[in-house]
Amino acid sequence: MTPYIAAQRLAKTFGRKRVLDDVSFRVEPGDVVGILGKNGAGKTTLLELILGFTPPSSGSVQIFSHESFRMPGSARRRIGSVPQQDELLNPLSALDQLRVIASFYENWDSELIDNLSRQWEIDLSERVKNLSVGQRQKLSILLALGHRPDVLILDEPVASLDPIARRQFMEQIVSIAADGARSVIFSSHIVSDVERLANKIWILKDGRLSWQGELDVLKESIVRVHVRSAAPLAPDFTLPNALSINREECHATAVLFDWKPHILKDVESQLGAPVEIESLGLEDIFLELHR
């Protein structure tokens, strides 16, 4: 299967500042990718490179087999995007704003948009400039969904939404993903949403992808272990593949990566002490990877 998006050793510098470095990835049809990273980790820059808003400093990124920065209109029409700062037209009514965008597309799904604007309680008669931040965000999402894009790119789409609106948004993303032929890439600081929606996770740290892969694999490969020994542990006691370790006389807690169940027996026989395994949620994993 040809991937929808592929990047090889992508890098971007602004002046002397290197914002992205050596980023490579693939996005296949049906993938929902969640991007996690601290503020300033390079999430927005990465999304803008994929969208072709700016050329890479080195490396390349293709979308639908076209160089992103030079993609033809036919490729662009298959993409929907929600920018971090909305680009709505303040003087228009919400309905007119929808009509303007709809007029760009032949395949605009007005039935879907009508249903969603009712379900999401967007007052279409209101002027855009009078809408609340949350309402503006909902409208921006609608604008990105109407032409049923094959690739949906969202930069913190739910930051201003209440829990109910977030849930409605998530249901919509799930139903897009259930088609199997469409992909979603989104960045978010709400780790619990990423945990529900994404099958793949990219963790950006200082402009590099410090971890990328399937969420299930991530959860199964990073664990916290608790060691209780009868005798005091050596001050330099450590465990294989430890991301971090805390020692207190007879007790040690460590977070290990590349965890495999068979390691448990090795460690236990080596120590002669029982070892307890604790699996970690995505939020804990994210924090551990940023220590």
Binding site: E171, S175, A177, A178, A198, N199, L215, K219, L280
Partner: protein, 190 residues
């Protein structure tokens, strides 16, 4: 006279379940089948499990255990115990995904693994169904294996509470006998 959906007891005065407006069941609290609904509430559905019944699984996305694994283990347990009899149709991937707001690929991964194991089967144009009992009825050792994570949890809690082995074993045996009584009473009442 209505039958209790949880234990099939017939009673002259049925009560409404708190879990479903259409379900009748016969007492307010006691009995494991009634009070511990996460494990047993599938009783309510066994006769009419259709693609709309997406609430029978308890999925917590924020647990360290991947969602596909949670689903896999719950279905495996329910099938092994006969709570999901052969031929039962499972909810569609889309319905389950939208209902729980979780990635559909996670669900299809669990379904596919269970299909490979022979627990579920897929027929063209039909929902996933529980495969024939003869093929899925697993050996006690295999079923015991599924209990292991729960035993580990019990062990961990017992250690933290500084309980001795004999105390834990005694408590477990008492619980076991108590639940036996409930099951006997239930069978007698049928």
């Amino acid at each position: 006279m209505a039958a209790c959906r949880a234990c099939r007891t017939r009673r002259a005065t049925p009560r409404r379940s708190i879990h479903s407006s259409t379900t009748t069941y016969h007492r307010k609290t006691p009995s494991i089948a009634h009070s511990y609904w996460p494990l047993y509430h599938v009783h309510y559905f066994t006769n009419s499990l259709d693609s709309q019944n997406t609430v029978m699984f308890i999925l917590s996305p924020h647990s360290g255990v991947p969602i596909y694994r949670q689903l896999l283990e719950q279905i495996r347990r329910m099938v092994a115990s006969g709570q999901l009899p052969p031929g039962t149709e499972l909810p569609s991937i889309r319905d389950l995904g939208v209902k729980h707001a979780i990635n559909p690929m996670t669900i299809s991964k669990a379904y596919a693994m269970l299909e490979a194991e022979g627990v579920l089967e897929r027929r063209r144009g039909k929902p996933m169904t529980v495969a024939n009992r003869t093929r899925v009825r697993s050996l006690p050792a295999k079923r015991l294996q599924q209990l292991e994570p729960h035993l580990d949890q019990l062990l961990l809690a017992a250690r933290q509470l500084e309980l001795s082995e004999s105390e834990v074993v005694r408590a477990l045996r008492q619980r076991w006998e108590k639940s036996n009584d409930t099951i006997h009473r239930r069978t007698a009442a049928r």
